[in-house]
């Protein structure tokens, strides 16, 4: 429904009303069970820490958000008055639809903290962090990672170098692969250096070359294999470093920048699409992406109970870990392999396995996250056409 030029598009009032109803019910549920069950242990400490970060950031945004809401409500009132003055039902409908949208945004802002951290129902918290906890366990869940002491990254205990939680686990796994590639590269280079020197030797008689190292096909093959391996390792290393920095970006910005910024942007009609996209990206990449990465990793062990005190973490561990031990050995940094052996056999295996680990598993998690973002964005009034185009081009 458009007038000439100035588009008074009537949004779907039923969808907005449904959204408002859902948020209202959530709010009521939160009020009905105001006492949030305490989350104990490392998981509780992790959620508290994230809540502190979020609150620190959002506290500075309250004025901004409330100002934006008031501006929009004032503008909607003016538009409604204009519609009343001109007896234009179209303008009045637009003002009403916008009022509902602003109300939905206001509810989201005011209850964002509850939705992410505190919503409880029937004595159980059902907030976003708790959904994540249900999926990956709230106890001593862990993942095999040789970059952390003990060889296992305990999810909620974390590591000072990588942080805590699923994103910390992802960074640990990535660092493990980076170290493995670096070591493998050094080993291949060490193996190749004397071979290449040998290949460069040429014997001359009467000024004519009578034998050169490069004429030895076996030697030449080994040198070329080393070149090929190093080239592949460079690609893998670039990808791994990019993934590490990307994870750092997500860890620092999704919950503290994208989500609050999205909530504020969603208030204004002309930034609603962007705001919805930001909210969906913030939630998707902070909660969905690392969670699915963990779930698709076969070394992940879910544990809901905290570890027994008598168990030494990382050494004795309850649960299935057969394949994890095998794979952890493959990417263990500092493997003292024979140089030539690594160049021909172990190097190939390593590159193959690292390529799968670097490209395949994160890609599966990324696809699942994008499906989530795609489903959530329209619900929030967002537009994700550009994002999908970019992803398809990258693909």
């Amino acid at each position: 429904m458009q007038s000439a030029g100035f588009a008074f598009s009537q949004k779907k009032p039923n969808g907005i009303a449904l959204l408002l109803t859902v948020f209202s019910l959530l709010m009521l549920a939160s009020l009905a069970f105001p006492s949030v069950p305490a989350r104990g242990g490392d998981f509780g400490a992790y959620v508290d820490q994230q809540q502190t970060y979020f609150n620190n950031r959002v506290d500075g945004w309250w004025t901004l958000a409330v100002t934006a809401i008031l501006i929009c409500i004032s503008f909607n009132t003016l538009v409604y008055m204009l519609g009343f003055a001109l007896e234009s039902q179209e303008v009045k409908n637009y003002a009403k639809a916008e009022f509902l949208q602003v109300s939905a945004s206001s509810l989201m802002i005011f209850f964002a903290v509850d939705l992410i951290f505190n919503v409880s129902s029937g004595g159980q918290t059902v907030a976003a962090f708790d959904f994540m906890g249900d999926l990956v366990g709230t106890g001593a869940s862990s993942i095999s990672c040789t970059a952390t002491p003990g060889g296992r990254f305990i999810l909620w205990k974390g590591d000072p170098q990588f942080g805590t939680g699923p994103i910390g686990a992802f960074k640990c796994k990535t660092q493990e692969k980076i170290s493995a590639v670096d070591n493998a590269y050094d080993a291949v280079r060490s193996a190749n250096y004397p071979l290449e020197q040998e290949e460069s030797i040429c014997y001359y008689l009467l000024g004519v070359p009578v034998w050169c190292g490069s004429w030895d096909l076996d030697l030449h093959k080994r040198v070329e294999q080393a070149h090929l391996l190093s080239s592949k390792m460079t690609d893998v290393s670039v990808s791994l470093h990019a993934q590490y920095v990307f994870a750092e970006y997500i860890q620092k910005n999704m919950l503290t920048v994208f989500l609050p910024f999205g909530l504020v942007l969603r208030i204004f009609p002309f930034t609603r699409g962007l705001g919805g996209l930001f909210i969906a990206l913030g939630v998707g990449f902070f909660f969905v992406w690392p969670t699915f990465f963990l779930l698709t990793d076969h070394t992940f062990v879910k544990v809901d109970n905290p570890p027994a005190q008598s168990l030494q973490e990382g050494v004795c561990f309850s649960g299935f870990r057969g394949s994890s031990v095998v794979l952890a050995g493959v990417v263990m940094p500092g493997v003292a392999a024979q140089a030539s052996d690594l160049a021909v056999t172990k190097g190939k295996d390593l590159v193959y396995q690292l390529t799968i680990g670097t490209v395949f598993y994160p890609f599966v998690a990324l696809v699942l996250t994008l499906i989530f973002v795609r489903a959530m964005t329209p619900l929030l009034g967002g537009d994700m056409g550009e994002l999908m185009r970019m992803v398809s081009r990258l693909g």
Binding site: A4, W61, I178, Y185, Q197, L205, S230, P269
Partner: protein
């Protein structure tokens, strides 16, 4: 009842005319020293006033002729005049805010813990958002160029090392013409290939950074002075409204969102190096100064509290073991060849990834944001502009 409606409509038109006249004679709130914008804003005001007068005439004519069609047209156009005035006012307000808002205030408003070093060292964050965006792109382009210079040196060094041959002519080789040639540094050919690979990434990063820089120059100089006011005027004309709305959306999103996103990138970039690339056994991110560039621009990854990239000047560790080998023909001995010490490949990979993310990945996110904003705004203004396709055409 009919008289009441007429009175309300007349009152609204009167208010609109008052608003339009006050706009056309208002002091220009824009403080970015672009005087040409005054004239164009005046044109916008005159266009709005003319339109309001035309609407009044049509409305009077409609009342006189009892033509519902004319009355409806007048009402619709009255709304559009109101909308145009609101758009002009909002655009002016936002632009003047952008000119007066300082990058240091960005930190306070958005609750960021620390300010990027590039802003800290330049007047303690007193740059406007436009100045801040320009400072960031200048530094990013300089860093990308420093990286290219560093890699260029590496490539040269590896080329020379791999092609260096010793010719062993001992004993009676002069009489027997028998000898042995060896390339002692031929094992560096692996690193040569990697440096080549990195050079490709570095070139893409540099092209992207320099593209961002010139785009910003174009936006500041051409877009604002010529196209944005033109779009505002076009929107004041009834039959060009869709085009005008679409153009306003594109230009406003470029003129407001693009610099804003670049300043946001400046705040995000130092976070990449906080724990990321100095972790584990990877070592610190060290850049070697080559070609007299002194790691220009590397401050974009630093905050006031810590440096993200450490610059190692020419002739010092860890870039060189001894003295710099000038690649000008001096030092033809094998000992001198050892001094031709390029970067470690792993270090070049880390540095290149970092610069690639800042110069290519973050701008890609920026483009998604700008395109989504432009599409929403153009839809709001009456015509949906597919900025992605427009970008493809360009």
């Amino acid at each position: 009842m009919q008289a009441k409606k007429t009175w309300r409509a007349a009152f609204f038109l009167f208010i609109s005319l008052l608003a339009a006249s006050s706009l056309s004679f208002a002091d220009n709130p824009f403080t970015c020293n672009l005087d040409k914008f005054n004239d164009t804003m005046l044109l916008c005001g005159i266009a709005a006033l003319s339109m309001a007068a035309l609407i009044s005439l049509v409305y009077i004519g409609g009342e006189f002729a009892q033509s519902a069609r004319m009355l409806t047209w007048a009402k619709t156009e009255a709304i559009q005049v109101f909308a145009s005035l609101a758009i002009v006012a909002v655009v002016l307000f936002v632009l003047s805010s952008m000119c007066t808002f300082q990058v240091g205030e960005f930190k306070d408003v958005f609750g960021v813990s620390s300010m990027p070093k590039i802003y800290q060292s330049a007047g303690g964050g007193s740059d406007s958002l436009y100045g801040g965006a320009m400072r960031y792109t200048e530094n990013l382009a300089a860093l990308a160029l420093s990286n290219v210079a560093s890699l260029r040196y590496d490539l040269g060094a590896y080329e020379i090392r791999t092609s260096y041959n010793t010719f062993d002519c001992s004993g009676d080789c002069l009489f027997s013409l028998s000898s042995v040639s060896t390339a002692p540094f031929s094992g560096n050919s692996m690193n040569l290939a990697i440096s080549n690979n990195m050079m490709g990434i570095a070139t893409v990063s540099y092209l992207s950074a320099i593209f961002m820089y010139f785009t910003l120059v174009y936006i500041y100089s051409g877009l604002f002075i010529v196209f944005l006011p033109l779009a505002l005027i076009i929107r004041s004309v009834p039959f060009m409204r869709h085009l005008g709305g679409s153009l306003i959306a594109i230009f406003v999103s470029l003129y407001i969102m693009y610099p804003l996103m670049l300043v946001a990138d400046a705040y995000v970039a130092p976070g990449f190096t906080a724990n990321a690339l100095s972790a584990g056994n990877s070592g610190a991110v060290v850049m070697c100064a080559r070609d007299g560039r002194n790691c220009a621009g590397s401050a974009i990854f630093s905050t006031a509290a810590q440096d993200g990239i450490t610059c190692s000047p020419a002739g010092t560790e860890p870039c060189f073991g001894h003295e710099e080998w000038g690649m000008e023909g001096i030092g033809r001995s094998q000992d001198a060849m050892n001094n031709l010490s390029p970067n470690e490949p792993a270090r070049a990979i880390r540095l290149n990834v970092l610069i690639f993310l800042a110069a290519v990945f973050l701008p890609a996110i920026n483009f998604i944001v700008i395109a989504a904003f432009g599409r929403e705004l153009s839809r709001f203004l009456g015509e949906e502009a597919d900025m992605s396709r427009l970008g493809q055409m360009i």
